[in-house]
């Protein structure tokens, strides 16, 4: 059997390393030339419960999984019971024979471990080895990927995998696709890489799903990268540390989810008036409030648009896959510095904790001109009223200069004023920055156009629904419109990609159609909204059916 695409589900209890095993499988598929996406489903607990990952590889870029799988790797009986029906008729079940009863490739994990005198944590290597054999892949695939993916005691792990590999039988053959092998990363990692690329100096994060792993990723490489990573007492402290840091000249970012973002909005408004750059990575999850800590949603767009008292310029982006996350995290950090304003990068649990093939060669390198003005301008005026609204940026200490930033309405020197003309002049200055940013954004290709680009029926989507819409758009002959920048809303680019659209379906993971509400503000009526809000992303077959019904 020749596979243009392949799906693997691996499941077991929390604490059994499902996520890491899933990553290994994703890398294996990547190694074989597949474009990969992994969806990781886990409840909010540490041990027990049921975790599973679905890894899908295809011959084109993808961003969603199916509800059916070709391989089911079961670490326990529950996995067999819960997911057996997802297995296609030709599908292969690989299972721990000492923990489950089933038909298929039985892996006697306990025995194999005992034979190698290896600890229980290495059990997954056995399953993986058996999977590689059952999938008809060469041992080389297992060896190469495991060597890279497993940091500790690789030799024992390899011996165990090999034993399982040797004992298992070939059930089908996932042969190399011939395409270039691409690395596989989580969305959190892609964001981290973008920040690193753009010269991040400080990252502050208070743990919160789904961005905790961005914190962990950055700190685990912090020393090497010479980036400081701080976990402060609260999200409020996190963003204020970032603002203090920016004031003194170092690039800073913070990451959180909706609940933590609530505690940052006062500082966001401060960044607005004080004209301080900061990037907030906002990983959305199911709400309201604590909601479902480990499940997904796209329901913080309206919050991000209005967060913080009063009007102030802000940048809001919602990249839709790893390539975009990396590119736009880097670009956002640059833009916050150029325009001295806060930016929010909207992600969600699907993106943050899912895995994607990353294609840096394809990745657009957004060019941002950071030459603001003569940096050594003197005498220096922090809030000089320039035509662009952007004042030159200098940092303390600057001999002979006084550099003041201020949360009150202030004069050009940063001294508090209640004067009415200055109040208006400073608001106008900030609005000029916003217009400049909007112009620059229009030139950055801020609205992705995909699928069948000439179709008159369009799918409008944002963030993590990019991949699935792209896939279905191509398949079903629908145009796909995905604004990556949501604010300042790229009106001209949006109008351009909408030319000829007669009907527009909005696909979103929230209950009110938040993007549909936004585009309506700009005159685009999208009454056809396809919404999902049960914490899970759309599955390919599911959305295909929904669209089929809606369009007909």
């Amino acid at each position: 059997m020749e596979h243009k695409e392949v799906s693997v589900l691996i499941g077991g209890r929390a604490g059994e390393g499902i996520s890491s095993a899933g990553q290994v499988i994703a890398q294996m598929l990547g190694h074989q030339g597949y474009r990969v996406h992994m969806y990781y489903d886990y409840p909010s607990l540490i041990k027990g419960g049921h975790n599973f990952a679905i890894i899908r590889g295809a011959d084109q870029k993808i961003g969603a999984v199916r509800n059916t799988v070709d391989f089911l790797l079961a670490l326990n009986q529950e996995t067999v019971d819960l997911h057996r029906e997802k297995l296609t008729s030709e599908g292969v079940l690989v299972f721990r024979s000492d923990a489950a009863n089933a038909e298929g490739v039985a892996v006697p994990v306990k025995r194999l471990l005992e034979e190698e005198g290896a600890p229980a944590v290495m059990g997954n290597s056995a399953i993986l080895g058996a999977f590689v054999r059952a999938a008809g892949m060469d041992w080389e695939v297992a060896e190469t990927v495991l060597r890279k993916a497993i940091p500790k005691q690789i030799d024992t792990n390899l011996r165990i995998a090999r034993r399982a590999y040797d004992e298992a039988e070939v059930k089908t053959r996932i042969s190399p696709l011939g395409a270039k092998a691409l690395p596989v990363v989580t969305g959190n990692e892609a964001i981290g890489l973008g920040l690193i690329q753009s010269g991040l100096g400080l990252y502050c994060g208070y743990p919160m799903s789904p961005t905790s792993n961005l914190l962990h990723f950055l700190v685990s490489h912090g020393t090497e990268l010479r980036i400081r990573v701080i976990q402060p007492e609260s999200e409020t402290a996190a963003i204020l540390m970032a603002l203090g840091c920016a004031y003194a000249g170092i690039r800073a970012a913070v990451g959180t989810s909706g609940g933590g973002f609530c505690l940052m909005v006062e500082a966001l408004s401060l960044a607005g008036i004080a004209e301080l750059p900061v990037l907030v990575v906002l990983g959305q999850r199911t709400g309201p409030s604590t909601g479902l800590a480990t499940y997904t949603a796209q329901a913080d767009l309206q919050f991000a648009l209005g967060a913080g008292q009063a009007d102030f310029p802000r940048l809001i982006t919602a990249p839709g896959d790893a390539d975009e996350l990396m590119a736009w995290a880097a670009a956002c950090l640059d833009l916050t510095w150029k325009y001295q304003l806060p930016a929010i990068l909207l992600s969600d649990k699907t993106l943050c904790e899912g895995m994607y093939s990353l294609d840096t060669s394809q990745m657009r390198h957004l060019q941002i001109d950071l030459e603001l003005a003569d940096k050594n301008v003197s005498p220096y005026t922090r809030y000089s009223l320039t035509e662009s609204g952007i004042s030159p940026l200098r940092f303390p200490p600057a001999s002979g200069e006084i550099i003041r930033v201020n949360s009150h309405v202030h004069d050009p020197d940063g001294i508090t004023t209640e004067n009415e003309e200055t109040t208006k002049a400073m608001a106008d200055k900030r609005m000029r920055k916003m217009r400049g940013l909007a112009e620059e954004i229009e030139a950055m290709d801020p609205v992705h156009l995909g699928g069948d680009v000439d179709a008159s029926t369009a799918l409008l989507c944002w963030g993590s629904n990019k991949g699935i819409c792209e896939e279905l758009g191509t398949k079903m002959g629908l145009r796909v419109i995905q604004p990556v920048v949501l604010w300042p809303f790229p009106e001209r680019s949006f109008a351009r990609v909408c030319k000829g659209v007669e009907r527009m379906f909005t696909v979103e993971c929230n209950e009110s159609g938040q993007l549909a509400r936004l585009v309506r503000q700009f005159g685009y009526a999208s009454e056809d909204v396809i919404l999902k809000y049960n914490g899970r992303p759309f599955f390919v077959d599911e959305l295909e059916a929904l669209l089929g019904r809606a369009i007909s």
Partner: protein, 281 residues
């Protein structure tokens, strides 16, 4: 450079804040003559009457949010530990809204100076009780007198790990000046609770004048002694009110634990990314 700015000063005549401003000005002038250039100072202000110092001084500054001087200061110090950061905070500001941050500043031994203009009232919002108001204080939100006992900020700071703790009084300018100087020169979290007279809403001048006395500097490194001294007066019951340095202690600072490394070059960053991605194929 004139350390007093062109901004018109609108504190009430007789306000203790003038004394703090004057003392700070003297200290910064002195230190500038020694080894701390004026431009290395950054004043981080909270919101309240105290915060107006930001406008009145010709110093670098960050006029932030009500209660949030400490994390801003931490960020500045993380970016550039050569900057001398002075937090100018109020009692409402940093004993109520921002108490959490204050405690964590102390716990981390962040190397900043915190001057609390403790007038024991929310002055700018017209006189409500604060965490250090005396039991029975009648303000606009407690016309019948507040029923709670005040917090003792010195005790709180002591148990939180502050490595320099002092109490000053705006009725004793020279001493206050000395305390501010010591606080700035201290390496670590330097906290000065300043009994600042608010002539309009909480004029305790007479009370303070009758009760204050000077602590000796002996044994300021002794935690137990510090604790005893801190407890002499609970900000409520009649007692002698000690002024001076309560406690001092040298410990590693937050910034020492998080030194600023030479950043990677663009190429080094690219190489890092390539290597990492190589491990993911």
């Amino acid at each position: 450079m004139n350390l007093i700015s062109r901004a018109p000063n609108v504190w009430c005549p007789g306000c203790g804040n003038f004394t703090i401003q004057q003392a700070l000005k003297e200290v910064i002038t002195q230190l500038a003559a020694e080894e701390y250039p004026v431009e290395n100072n950054v004043l981080v202000a909270g919101i309240g009457q105290h915060g107006k110092l930001f406008d009145y001084m010709n110093l670098n500054g960050f006029y932030g949010l009500h209660g949030r001087t400490i994390p801003i200061a931490a960020g500045i110090r993380l970016a550039n530990p050569n900057l001398q950061v002075l937090c100018v905070a109020g009692d409402g500001d940093c004993y109520a809204e921002g108490l959490d941050h204050l405690i964590f500043g102390a716990k981390r031994n962040l190397n900043v100076t915190v001057l609390v203009h403790n007038n024991r009232v929310y002055a700018l919002t017209t006189g409500q009780y604060t965490p250090t108001s005396t039991k029975g204080y009648r303000g606009r939100s407690t016309p019948e007198g507040i029923e709670e006992l005040p917090l003792n900020p010195l005790e709180l700071m002591l148990v939180s790990g502050a490595s320099f703790i002092a109490r000053g009084y705006t009725g004793r300018r020279e001493q206050l000046q000395g305390l501010i100087r010591e606080a700035i020169l201290h390496r670590g979290f330097a906290f000065v609770d300043i009994l600042q007279v608010c002539v309009t809403y909480n004029n305790l001048t007479r009370y303070y004048n009758e009760h204050v006395y000077d602590w000796t500097k002996e044994g300021v490194e002794d935690y137990e002694k510090a604790w005893e001294k801190a407890r002499e007066w609970d900000y409520n019951t009649d007692a002698k009110i000690g002024l001076g340095v309560l406690y001092r202690h040298r410990a590693p600072t937050f910034e020492e634990n998080h030194p600023v490394p030479e950043p990677l070059t663009r190429d080094e960053r690219r190489t890092f990314i390539e290597n990492l991605l190589d491990r993911r194929v």
